[in-house]
């Protein structure tokens, strides 16, 4: 049995080579597929069609603290909303930061919406405009300020939205 497993492990070294090729592909994909930050941040509607939604955020590492501040405001705006749908959206949010930097040393953040709320609009800019600090009309200056932080944090990086379904839970 040890021999068979060792054979498998030797094959894994071939897999490492394949993974390096994969890394190139990932790099190219990341470099070519992200929407410019101004477009990504300004999306008026972000809906998920799967049971779980993931937003990969590629963030300027010098603005990581700003990005986290915006995400906290986003989450708090959702759970603090008077709209039950938005409250449920907030309850399912989790944010993770990758320990290792991504391409060009940018920080990688994964926002999980699990479960997603059907029909819910997860667009950060829209939620902040509607809900941040009690909503309009009194929050205009604060929303503009925090939106600028959000947009600047994503400049040079971007976002990618992935629709997923929970397949297995051991």
């Amino acid at each position: 049995m040890r021999t068979m497993v060792n054979t498998g492990f030797r094959r894994s070294q071939v897999c490492i080579g394949a993974a390096l090729v994969a890394a190139v592909a990932v790099g190219v994909l990341l470099g070519s597929s992200f929407a410019p930050a101004s477009e990504a941040a300004a999306q008026p509607t972000v809906n998920f069609t799967g049971g779980t939604g993931i937003v990969l955020n590629v963030v300027d590492p010098t603005k990581a603290a700003d990005f986290e501040e915006v995400m906290k405001a986003f989450g708090e705006s959702l759970v603090g909303s008077s709209d039950p749908q938005r409250q449920r959206m907030g309850e399912g949010l989790k944010l993770y930061r990758a320990a290792e930097a991504g391409p060009n040393n940018f920080a990688l953040y994964y926002l999980f919406a699990d479960p997603t709320v059907s029909g819910g609009n997860y667009a950060v800019a829209q939620v902040l405009a509607d809900e941040y600090l009690g909503g309009p009309p009194g929050n205009g200056d604060e929303v503009r300020a925090i939106y600028e932080k959000y947009s600047a944090a994503l400049t040079g990086g971007g976002q990618q939205t992935i629709n997923m379904d929970l397949l297995l839970e051991f």
Binding site: M1, M4, V5, T7, G8, F9, R11, S12, Q13, C15, I16, A18, A19, L20, V21, A22, A23, V24, A25, V26, G27, V28, L30, G31, S32, T49, G50, I54, E68, M71, K72, F74, G75, E76, V79, G90, E91, G92, L93, K94, L95, Y96, R97, A98, A99, E100, G102, P103, N104, N105, L108, Y110, I162, N163, M164, D165, L167, L168, E169, F170
Partner: protein, 160 residues
């Protein structure tokens, strides 16, 4: 200042991403052949599976769940508790299927290397299971492991 056409600037950006991708991937794969031990509180495994190999991959991962549940080692059973696997609703460009395993939290020091887990529980089947598992991955993209840290969003109601 010399004007650089947009297509050349885009090409340079893609080239930078290309090189960054190499380093990024190398940092994740070359350091740990045959082991999958996470160094952070949360782990993520991104798997790119060949079109047509979904059933084989999913069947193997179900066996992993069985192996963990059957294990006499407490830590192996703990691994099962927080191991979730998600599947993208749509294939990627080129047809590969995307699976993301989220391990939140990881069991500190535990090895998440699938062939080893299968070998412990199903030693007489491990070669066949390994062949199925290894053969399922898309040659162009394979698997990426990531160490993650959860960012506190201050959402008291978010905990299950």
């Amino acid at each position: 200042m010399t004007h650089v056409p947009r297509r050349y600037r885009v090409a340079v950006l893609v080239a930078i991403a290309f090189v960054g991708g190499i380093g990024w991937g190398a940092a994740r794969t070359t350091a740990q052949p045959g082991t999958r031990v996470f160094t952070a509180d949360v782990g993520m495994i991104v798997s790119h599976v060949k079109s047509g190999q979904a059933v084989a991959f999913e069947r193997t991962m179900k066996r992993v769940g069985e192996a963990l549940a059957l294990s006499e080692e407490f830590d192996r059973r703990r691994q099962a508790v927080t191991w979730k696997i998600y599947k993208a609703t749509d294939p990627l460009e080129g047809g590969a299927l995307l699976y993301i395993a989220l391990l939140d939290p990881v069991v500190p020091g535990a090895d998440y290397w699938v062939p080893q887990i299968l070998n412990e529980a199903f030693p007489t089947e491990v070669q066949e299971l390994y062949d199925t598992y290894a053969g399922a991955f898309d040659e162009g993209q394979g698997q990426v492991l990531m160490n993650l840290t959860r960012v506190d969003l201050g959402l008291a109601v978010a905990e299950p």
